[in-house]
Amino acid sequence: QQQVKQSPQSLIVQKGGISIINCAYENTAFDYFPWYQQFPGKGPALLIAIRPDVSEKKEGRFTISFNKSAKQFSLHIMDSQPGDSATYFCAASGKYGNEKLTFGTGTRLTIIP
């Protein structure tokens, strides 16, 4: 079964700190790795995505780090803010995102003042 394992399940970080969420996958055919952000009562929205031809992608305070040999990827949120408090889902798919997404189980992030 194709799986994406995500940790931790919940995370509390102080304002200004670095939030790190990790994911691991099994299927070597996966070649598209997005992160979705979900606020309470809303649907998920794409935050940032990476393909395995690069080891890192940065968009503002959000960075994906990708380790192809270990089959792991992680989301780093620098200078975490209370507005970043949300649930974050990693996901993976093949054919550069043209296949179905397999989602991780989610991480509830809380940023405290």
Binding site: K42, S93, T105
Partner: protein
């Protein structure tokens, strides 16, 4: 553009009742998806469609049915509601030229 819209927002069903969750998108996207979200379980794909008239099962299709008669609409049918179908249901869509899936606001369904 309204994006992806879902109705109703909330619904309580009795065991054995039937209902249809509505989903519509105005972005002319070919691909549409139905997910269910349970606490601590992430998003599980129920059914998906790659275009009008074409649907296929996802990871958890049992107890559900779909149809796709138009590009815009992708309703999800529950025939005999069971407590195990208590969940939050999300519809999503994407174009064939991009990877990003756009999600609706969700329908919270409780089966008692």
């Amino acid at each position: 553009n309204a994006g992806v819209t879902q109705t109703p927002k909330f619904r309580i069903l009795k065991i054995g009742q039937s209902m249809t969750l509505q989903c519509a998108q105005d972005m002319n996207h070919n691909y549409m998806y139905w997910y269910r979200q349970d606490p601590g379980m992430g998003l599980k794909l129920i059914y998906y469609s790659v275009g009008a008239g074409i649907t296929d099962k996802g990871e958890v299709p049992n107890g559900y049915n779909v149809s796709r008669s138009t590009t815009e609409d992708f309703p999800l049918r529950l025939e005999l509601a069971a407590p195990s179908q208590t969940s939050v249901y999300f519809c999503a869509s994407r174009s064939g030229q991009a990877n990003e899936q756009f999600f609706g606001p969700g329908t919270r369904l409780t089966v008692l």
